[in-house]
Subunit: 363 residues, 2 copies
């Protein structure tokens, strides 16, 4: 018998810059050129974003290879990923390629995953154009596509090399998507910052009118909160789990709706479910939950499970959750608005299956 040990050296720390502004899209390309030089660029976007003129603003007449996917979660699948990678191969792109994700969460997730797996990893720049992506998915390095069974069943952690947030792109977003995406902002406030929750409550009108200066502040607070959490635990061993507040049941509701519900719409229901679990477990009260429901409702979001979703299917999907251990996931809960409940150092805690099923029954 012989044996050897292979040492895998530490990977160096790195960092990336997030720039937030209004009407900055047409000035982004020179910045990308100055950061990456002559490296091949490949843009991934969706038909709505292109139709809204964002792609034209970004490239301003330059000749850049791009791939335009159909809008919506159903595009986040392995067939589209294969087509994207083969398009990149057909453009003879090399290991120095920079993928540029221009769009919402679906575009960012699939483009990030494509960058992570193309030739064993190339760089990606995220240019989020939706409330969801600007608040959440464009930063933090989560990438992935869905399987026929669950969301983000395929994926890796792959951090962007730069992020550009232009809140002017939100102007062309349809109202339903705009509102649904704001749920991630509510989530950030709930887990990390009561003052930010009050800010959202007080600036509701400006937010719903997509007022640029307020939306820059919203983007900044979201990035600040998310960056802190991700820096502390980039690969979600523990603390980063707090970002899944409302998401365990939210993801399941989203899947069970056949993606008729938008991600944020489903997470709003998940946040209310978390609030009900908190009450069951003595961590919260009706008054706090009513305050949260009021904000979500003011954003135009439903706070109950649609009648056509089967609750037994929901429980089955929850068992398949990425975070599941022994077929039941842990849940993120809050002690107060702005502070996550921790038990024995864990940011996601055990909740008995019957407590969850009981809450689902009432939702």
């Amino acid at each position: 018998m012989k044996e050897l040990t292979v040492k895998v050296p530490a990977e160096k720390a790195s960092e990336y810059r997030i720039e937030i502004g209004t009407d900055i899209l047409s000035s982004v390309w020179p910045k990308i050129e100055s950061q990456f030089g002559k490296a091949g660029k490949f843009i991934i976007t969706d038909a709505n974003v292109a139709k809204a003129g964002q792609l034209d603003k970004l490239v301003s007449g330059r000749n850049v290879s791009s791939y335009v996917i159909s809008p919506g979660e159903t595009s986040k699948n392995m067939n589209i990923l294969v087509m994207i990678i083969e398009a990149m191969e057909n453009a003879y792109l090399g290991r120095d390629t920079v993928v540029i994700a221009l769009g919402g969460g679906v575009v960012g997730d699939i483009a990030g995953f494509a960058a992570a797996v193309f030739k064993r990893g190339v760089r990606v720049v995220q240019i989020p154009t939706t409330t969801l992506a600007q608040a959440d998915s464009a930063i933090g390095g989560k990438t992935g596509v869905d399987s026929s069974l669950s969301k983000n069943a395929f994926g890796v952690f792959w951090h962007p090399s730069a992020v550009y947030i232009d809140v002017a792109t939100l102007k062309t977003l349809d109202d339903r998507q705009y509102r649904a995406g704001l749920v991630e902002s509510v989530k950030h406030a709930l887990i990390a910052d009561e003052k930010y929750f009050e800010f959202l409550e007080s600036k509701l009108d400006a937010i719903l009118h997509r007022q640029a200066d307020v939306m820059e502040q919203v983007a900044y607070q979201n990035c600040r909160i998310k960056a802190q959490v991700v820096e502390a635990d980039p690969t979600e061993k523990n603390q980063r789990r707090m970002l899944n507040y409302g998401h365990t049941i939210g993801h399941a509701v989203e899947s069970a709706s056949g993606f008729e519900l938008l991600h944020g719409e489903a997470v709003a229901i998940g946040i209310v479910a978390a609030g009900m679990i908190e009450i069951e477990m003595g961590l919260g009260d009706d008054k706090r939950l009513a305050r949260i429901k009021k904000l979500l409702t003011a954003l135009g979001l439903a706070v109950t499970i649609p009648a056509k979703i089967s609750k037994s299917e929901l429980a089955d999907i929850i068992k398949r959750d990425k975070k599941a251990i022994n077929k039941w996931p842990r849940f993120v809960l809050i002690d107060t608005i702005g502070r996550v409940h921790r038990r024995e150092g864990q940011w996601a805690v055990e909740v008995k299956q019957d407590v969850v099923e009981n809450v689902l029954g009432k939702l």
Copy 2:
């Protein structure tokens, strides 16, 4: 305009153990259990390996979920990957899962990739059962599957958590595969160790008779050489490129043959092509190339491009190479047996397209 910087912390260094022995397969499972405890296990293997009894030896009657792919490079595609991931989801496996790759290079590559992307990354144990996988693919963390255009178009670096090499598994390998896989041993000798090259020349009979003590030494030398290179440059920024000796043209020949040629058979041709390029560039002579060809021929390998492969197609495939910059890859060349040619600190150097095309014409 607002800006933030997100810090991505360094990833810790890690290490993994390689155990090499004869008839150790049936004693591996308790070691896996002791390393990983109750975490869910999922075995990926192929029908030949299962038929040869290796899967039974490994599990020894235990009830373990497994997925058996068809043998051969054509299984290394995204459809099979999707089926593997969905099988893992249907087994309700969590983030603590350990994927166990039992088989050759195809099994190791696809299982490693499946582990890397399942729920954003779970652990993998490599148990290589072929000369190719024991020499090369099971260590070093390269994973991937092919696109319709090129090999390993999809992939990531994902290091195993343990490697078990049982040279007794080589006994059931068919002769063609056995011989082809030895080419990676020849490659290791050529790039790193002249004494090992002499060892291979002198032990040819024992090697071809699959004599266990000699094959343990071969496995050990391969792992030693590869581990050194990988430790110095895990993600192939420069030095690790030396492991691609013979592979740039080899991969292209393999693709152009529609995978009728085995990987090692194609790399043997690629090694000869590298030798011819070395002569053209004044780095080698006919005598050295003749010595290399003699060893490859003694292993039963062809050293010319099959007539039915189109040479213009070859050049086109080379342009798509993962390592290509501006549509033409760099090449690894040697100064002498055991030492890679370096130019300006680079382990892969520029070779003009007409020099390569000239060599292809003569091959």
